[in-house]
């Protein structure tokens, strides 16, 4: 019983920080496919080294540190043909993300509410891009628009979502 329970505890912790961890990685390495790759690698390392983790210490901090090293390893692996933030900016982003990514779970709930408030057209745009995973080029062809126009529209919807989340976050803080 104990092995599954301790395993379950670790698993719960790992599941609980996935959104924040992915956000952390994506900010340092702003290419979704690479970020996903690094997230998977980070999860593997965390799982493999689960025995090294001392319960009672900060699981999130440990996981983010592992993720940071995985990002660095990924940078080294494909450094030459990819655009990369420099070390100083990486460090600064990482230090701040350490603190902020803890809100990811809460923000995910707020995001769901904000999605419901979007105009139908905007929601459809986001859903196509993310839920259906359709590329901007394909969307542009379907909509008979230029890819850049679709990209700008998507950006504006994201801005609306950010504003909504900001407002809801402020409302929550003031309560």
């Amino acid at each position: 019983m104990s092995h599954t329970e301790s395993n379950s505890w670790f698993s719960d912790q790992l599941v609980g920080i996935q959104k924040g961890l992915y956000a952390y990685i994506l900010t340092l390495l702003p290419w979704p496919e690479e970020a996903s790759d690094v997230l998977q690698q980070t999860n593997l390392v965390l799982w493999r080294d689960s025995a090294k983790f001392q319960i009672g210490t900060d699981f999130r901090a440990w996981a983010y540190r592992v993720a940071y090293f995985q990002v660095l390893a990924q940078r080294r692996k494909v450094q030459r043909d990819r655009l990369r933030f420099d070390d100083a900016l990486m460090q600064e982003l990482a230090a701040n993300m350490d603190r902020e990514a803890v809100y990811a779970e809460e923000e995910a709930l707020i995001l769901q509410d904000c999605m419901k408030l979007l105009p139908a057209k905007d929601r459809e745009l986001i859903c196509r891009r993310y839920d259906a995973g359709v590329s901007v080029k394909t969307m542009a062809a379907d909509l008979n628009q230029s890819p850049n126009a679709v990209a700008v529209k998507l950006h504006r919807v994201r801005q609306k979502l950010l504003e909504c989340m900001e407002q809801r976050g402020s409302e929550r803080d003031s309560r």
């Binding site: 019983m1 104990s2 092995h3 599954t4 329970e5 301790s6 395993n7 379950s8 698993s11 790992l14 996935q18 959104k19 956000a23 994506l26 900010t27 702003p30 496919e33 996903s36 790759d37 998977q40 999860n43 593997l44 799982w47 001392q54 009672g56 210490t57 901090a61 540190r65 655009l83 420099d86 070390d87 100083a88 900016l89 460090q91 600064e92 982003l93 230090a95 701040n96 902020e100 990811a104 995910a108 995001l111 769901q112 999605m115 986001i126 859903c127 891009r129 993310y130 839920d131 995973g133 359709v134 890819p147 679709v150 990209a151 998507l154 950006h155 979502l161 950010l162 900001e166 402020s170």
Partner: protein, 577 residues
């Protein structure tokens, strides 16, 4: 939260980054903006976090049924093989749910690298998990504990594992704080692990919380030795504990007819006393039909909870001090033949000696030193100081000193100064950390000399065993030693000229209550050459520390001191209140 209104330029760059093809020039410009403008950087972080959440939330927003997914995407079906589903239902998944919930709904995604990696990772992790299951004994936590930290008094050490009866689990470990075991210092029992009847916990230091299935909680404080000898109690051979019987438990006992909701009314107590066995050894080890009342035995006494919270300290000689924080307990001396005991009320304490039948009532003054930890401590940050935070180059760092240099025996300690970075060093980040040295410059100092940097931090009302300090440093040229309170700590291996590489270190022991002194020796110059030249010397440190703050409570100040000591033999009815 940060404002979302930012320059058109930044927004255009974000469009290019997320949904278009950003070119090198644009990316360089984005980096410059982010490096120079903290607001832009904060906005970027929020924006990327939103993008990440959108990726994650898409499955949650419109879940794709397995059937639909399989129909659309044969590769996707591979994840949901019945055998794997069966495995995953039987065991906690080692993988975050995201791997399962992000069912792809687009051919682009299925064929894409993210999906491939997901499939690969699922298989890798299942493989690792299977290997882990194969390698580990069925009760990892308990098996370590049973070998080293616990014994089972009903089974001999020679008994075959196959003959051993299945353990009777009577509770769970629900809290651990800085626990070190007497026999196996490095073992940490996982939270949530079952507590089996007969299990003995020998703590060298730290805290361990056991929650019985009945709802009663016991906080053990090391050094101590405690054996779980029934479903409602244990044997404290040495050390300190606090027991708390929750109101839920009271209700549960009510259901069995042995208690009432009004647990503290005299009627309730009377009923409970009536329900109690007259045998002071009622909690014989591994009793299978335990008393409904939570009871702690010690070498000299039996302390029975009558609701709701009490503490016990057992000394080396078996002397038992009992104190009631709230509610009542009954204390019986094992040395006496009498069957009665002494009832203690809130804020009352007694001592039961090993060689007498006496129960000595303690006043508050005598009891003052016996503080108990009544709540599991919370982990909180230690106020430590990274170098140069919030300062300008040329400022003295009030939190860091240089206290010695090896070529000047009479060197007078002085504050370190934030120095401009050398061309080979990473830039100073005033909000995060900066280079410090003996002067601004960076100063050129003689090779072959060691400079000792020092910072201090305060700890109060913490468990020293539960403190940890994590840090990383940049150095020109080399850190020779790190000491906490004079005790050498492990220094990560690093090159003498790797100025731009952070080196992580961690300190897990050597902390003290009060002022703690962290010292770092910095050697100037290359490893094997003392050239007589002068070169740059500086240190840059980032620190993070956490400590377990005691939830300790002394007996309340309102505790009335009794002027007379009641010298009563065990069971003296006159002592009963």
């Amino acid at each position: 939260m940060m404002s979302t209104s930012h320059s058109d330029e930044l927004n255009l760059l974000l469009v290019a980054l997320t949904d278009s093809e950003i070119d090198r020039r644009q990316f360089t410009r984005l980096q410059t903006l982010l490096s120079q403008d903290p607001d832009a950087q904060a906005y970027f972080r929020r924006y990327m976090r939103l993008c990440a959440l959108l990726e994650f939330e898409r499955a949650a927003a419109e879940p794709v049924s397995p059937d639909a997914a399989n129909e659309l995407h044969p590769i996707g079906a591979a994840i949901e093989l019945p055998r794997q589903v069966e495995m995953e239902s039987a065991i906690p998944s080692p993988l975050p749910s995201v791997f399962h919930s992000r069912a792809p709904s687009s051919p682009d995604f299925v064929g894409g690298p993210v999906f491939s990696y997901m499939v690969a990772t699922v298989f890798m992790c299942l493989l690792l998990f299977g290997f882990w299951l194969y390698k580990l004994p069925p009760d990892r936590g308990s098996s370590i504990a049973s070998n080293e930290n616990s014994r089972r008094s009903t089974t001999s050490g020679e008994e075959s594992i196959h003959d051993r009866p299945a353990p009777v689990v009577v509770g769970r470990i629900t809290g651990i704080a800085g626990a070190k075991w007497s026999d196996e210092p490095n073992y940490i029992a996982p939270l949530g692990v079952g507590v089996a009847l007969g299990r003995q916990y020998k703590l060298k230091s730290g805290l361990l919380e056991i929650t019985y299935d009945s709802g009663a909680k016991v906080i053990l404080e090391g050094p101590c030795s405690y054996e779980v000898d029934s479903a409602a109690g244990g044997y404290l051979a040495l050390g300190k504990l606090v027991a708390r019987v929750a109101s839920d438990n009271s209700r549960r006992l009510t259901a069995s007819g042995n208690n009432t909701v009004m647990a503290q009314t005299p009627e309730a107590v009377s009923l409970r006393l009536l329900s109690e066995s007259t045998n002071p050894q009622i909690h014989s080890p591994l009793a299978t039909n335990p008393s409904p009342l939570f009871t702690v035995r010690t070498p000299t006494a039996v302390v029975t909870d009558l609701g709701t919270e009490f503490g016990i300290v057992v000394g080396e000689d078996g002397n038992t001090i009992s104190h009631v924080f709230a509610g009542m307990v009954k204390v019986k001396s094992l040395a006496g033949a009498s069957l009665e005991g002494l009832i203690l009320h809130t804020n009352e304490s007694v001592s039961v000696g090993p060689n007498s039948e006496q129960i000595i009532d303690l006043g508050r003054e005598e009891f003052r030193d016996a503080t108990f930890t009544r709540r599991m401590p919370r982990r909180a940050a230690i106020k430590v100081f990274s170098t140069g935070v919030g300062l300008n180059e040329g400022d003295y760092d009030p939190h860091w000193q240089i206290v010695a240099r090896s070529d000047e025996p009479d060197f007078k300690p002085r504050l370190a100064m934030v120095t401009a970075s050398h061309m080979y060093w990473p830039y100073n980040l005033p909000t995060q950390s900066q280079w410090i040295s003996i002067a601004d410059g960076p100063p050129e100092l003689p090779d072959g000399v060691t400079f000792t940097f020092r910072t201090t931090f305060q700890l109060s009302n913490v468990l020293p065993a539960g403190c940890s300090l994590r840090g990383r440093f940049l150095v020109d040229n080399h850190v020779g030693a790190i000491r906490l309170n004079g005790k050498e700590c492990s220094v990560p291996k690093h090159d003498f000229e790797a100025f731009a590489e952070y080196n992580d270190f961690e300190i897990a022991d050597g902390f003290v209550e009060g002022t703690n002194v962290l010292e770092i020796d910095v050697y100037n110059g290359r490893q094997e050459i003392v050239s007589g030249e002068t070169t740059g010397m500086a240190l840059r440190v980032e620190l993070q520390g956490t400590a377990l703050h005691k939830g300790s409570d002394s007996p309340p100040a309102s505790h009335p001191k009794r002027t007379e000591k009641i010298d009563t033999t065990y069971g003296n009815g006159g002592a009963m209140e």
